[in-house]
């Protein structure tokens, strides 16, 4: 069912990621892969969680999924901090610097949004996300923020997507950085079209004059999502911006042309045929 090739360039578990999970299993699968990637690369993995039972915690989950937790903890490569230590008042720069001082070349941090909300007011979460985004772009750091898809809607979803624009990881849809802009992966239909729309809104707000969207790895786009694309980018195009929909797969290109997406002002479909 899942058409995303996680081995594709740009879809490794690196950078500033937004893991939008539908189920607990999906969350834990993603988290395990993310931790394993960090340990394999010799990075320090710092996690925080609110768990009332040790058997539900990260270390138990990783153990059950075959990760050598004991060795990682002993070597200091894997640590679980209480939320107050993970989210200090002065920001996470200090958390990262302590890891670098221990000799690690890179550090990765992760938490669930609910954990952040257990210690931060909701209004401050977006600001912390922006600080983390800055750290990831300027330091040898990776961060994965875990949001439950069902409760991440409306402005909360738009805020979350805007700080992880090229790192969205959803069940059947993902984004990455393309050489010339944003790349979309997977499939878009009614089950994830809100996430797709939030990505396009955030991308068009950030684009100065041209929004480059590489569609080579997008296998499906339904009719309703063509209209979400129109809606999401309309203010940008009305202000003189141009959206380049680059290298769509033939089936996606035909859908867009049947829906006359390419006839919209400021929208350009470049299929290569």
């Amino acid at each position: 069912m899942v058409v995303i090739d996680r081995r594709a360039p740009g879809l490794e578990w690196d950078g500033h990621l937004l893991l939008l999970h539908r189920t607990e299993d999906e969350r834990l699968d993603g988290l395990t892969a993310w931790v394993r990637r960090g340990l394999d690369l010799g990075e320090k993995v710092i996690y925080t969680e609110v768990r009332h039972q040790p058997e539900n915690g990260l270390l138990a989950v990783l153990t059950a999924r075959g990760v050598d937790v004991a060795e990682a903890v002993c070597s200091g490569a894997l640590v679980v901090l209480p939320p107050r230590e993970f989210y200090p008042r002065e920001g996470q720069q200090g958390v990262a610097e302590r890891a670098f001082a221990e000799g690690f070349a890179a550090v990765r941090i992760s938490a669930e949004a609910t954990t952040a909300l257990s210690t931060l007011p909701p209004a401050e979460v977006h600001g912390v996300e922006q600080q983390i985004d800055e750290l990831v772009r300027t330091q040898p750091m990776h961060a994965m923020c875990q949001y439950e898809e069902a409760t991440t809607t409306g402005p909360w979803l738009e805020d979350a997507v805007s700080v992880h624009l090229t790192g969205v990881r959803q069940t059947t849809f993902a984004t990455s950085q393309a050489l010339d802009g944003l790349a979309l992966h997977g499939e878009v239909d009614t089950t994830n079209t809100d996430v797709f729309a939030a990505v396009m809104i955030a991308a068009s707000r950030r684009a100065p004059r041209v929004l480059w969207v590489d569609l080579a790895e997008l296998a499906y786009l339904d009719a309703g999502s063509c209209w979400r694309l129109d809606d999401a980018t309309r203010p940008f195009r009305a202000a003189g911006g141009n959206v380049l929909l680059v290298a769509p797969q033939p089936s996606v290109e035909r859908t867009m042309r049947m829906l006359e997406v390419d006839e919209l002002p400021g929208m350009h479909v470049l299929g290569g045929s």
């Binding site: 772009r137 010339d180 950030r206 004059r209 480059w212 499906y220 309703g224 209209w227 035909r254």
Partner: protein, 371 residues
């Protein structure tokens, strides 16, 4: 009709008995359009297109289309004309005047799709700045076809200009009278794929994968098969969104056709115009799915049955030689990476034309910019 130039007449018919009658009515209509700043589109028999272009002085604003390429299927002809009008206006024309000669097939089922086309043209291009004339040679028309032609055009074009057609019948009424082309019966045979009890919309990605696997076939049919899969997915979504569960899907794949039924337990719809009214004309996103379905398969039928509301889709598969010669799906013979790279080169050129140079494209904060 009060309009002198005819620009306000969306869809008229020109019934001619000789070449002279065709030219006497068509040339003034088209020449007036050029005088008004309109573009002109011709999709007639080649010899008629040549004569009309001669009479109009080969103006740069005249676009001659290959008639056989335009009139392949009702929904595709509508889509072509919508695109032509969009582009004419984008190029600076105030409106588009077009004259076309719809194929006349005296066999009832040969005419049915063009009868349908003439009816839906009235709604599918209603919002566009177009004045269209369908020219028919009276000597070729049987009585039923002549009746159908007269009932689907709200105006007549004669050498004296436009006048109202009092035999015009509302498109929805015409569509109810047109029977669908009967497909080969397959419903009594075991389906190639059957999913009898689909719970909720979260199953859509899984179903798409099943459909794709079942519909996988020869590369020269790839386009037809993938369009058919897209049509089925949109009908499935409608069943989930507007119908009542459970939703059942049955798919038959034969060498000659693809057939799929989607049944839910809701009341369904009973609008013969469903999928023929462009989504732009209605509430946002309403009708987008069925608009795609009408274009992506050959036949859409919908009916209430004892088991619920069933939508039945059919696409006819051409023989391999025919498909190869028409180029259906030929793009898929080329590696996708080659095609994608060519697209990126074109995109870079377009970006340069937007005066971007080598600066970042999606943002200036380095999150996704070129170095």
């Amino acid at each position: 009709m009060t309009s002198v130039s005819g620009r306000n007449v969306r869809h008229a018919v020109l019934l001619y008995g000789s070449l002279e009658e065709l030219l006497a009515a068509a040339v003034p209509f088209l020449a007036a359009g050029l005088g008004d700043g309109d573009a002109v589109v011709l999709a007639c028999r080649p010899e008629h297109t040549a004569l009309l272009a001669d009479a109009l002085g080969h103006d740069d604003r005249i676009l001659a289309l290959d008639r056989e390429g335009v009139y392949t299927r009702s929904t595709k002809a509508v889509a072509t004309y919508r695109r032509v009008v969009h582009r004419g206006v984008a190029a600076g024309a105030l409106a588009v005047r077009l004259i076309g000669e719809v194929p006349v097939d005296p066999r009832p089922q040969g005419w049915a799709d063009w009868h349908r086309y003439e009816a839906i043209f009235n709604v599918a291009l209603a919002s566009l700045p177009v004045a269209s004339v369908c020219a028919y040679d009276l000597r070729e028309l049987t009585e039923p076809i002549g009746d159908g032609v007269e009932q689907t055009h709200p105006a007549l074009l004669t050498p004296a200009g436009h006048r109202p057609n009092d035999r015009f019948v509302e498109p929805s009424i015409v569509l109810r009278r047109i029977t669908a082309t009967p497909a080969d019966p397959v419903d009594d045979t075991p389906p190639t794929l059957s999913a009898p009890d689909l719970g909720d919309v979260t199953r859509l990605p899984e179903l798409r994968a099943q459909l794709r696997a079942t519909l996988a076939g020869a590369w020269w049919q790839e386009q037809l098969r993938s369009d058919f899969a897209a049509a089925v997915c949109e009908v499935l979504l409608n069943a989930y969104r507007h119908g009542r569960p459970p939703v059942a899907v049955r798919l038959w794949v034969t060498p000659a056709q693809l057939v799929c039924t989607v049944t839910d337990h809701g009341d369904g719809f009973d609008d013969p115009l469903a999928g023929y009214v462009p989504p732009h004309n209605g509430p946002r996103a309403a009708g987008a799915g069925l608009w795609l379905v009408r274009q992506a398969c050959d036949i859409l039928e919908a009916a209430r049955t004892p088991t619920g509301f069933t939508v039945r889709l059919t696409t006819f598969l051409p023989a391999s030689d025919a498909a190869r010669s028409t180029g259906s799906g030929t793009a898929d013979a080329e590696p996708t990476s080659v095609r994608a790279e060519r697209a990126r080169v074109s995109a870079k050129e377009l970006a340069r034309r937007f005066s971007l140079g080598a600066s970042g494209l999606i943002g200036d904060d380095g999150a996704a910019s070129r170095g």
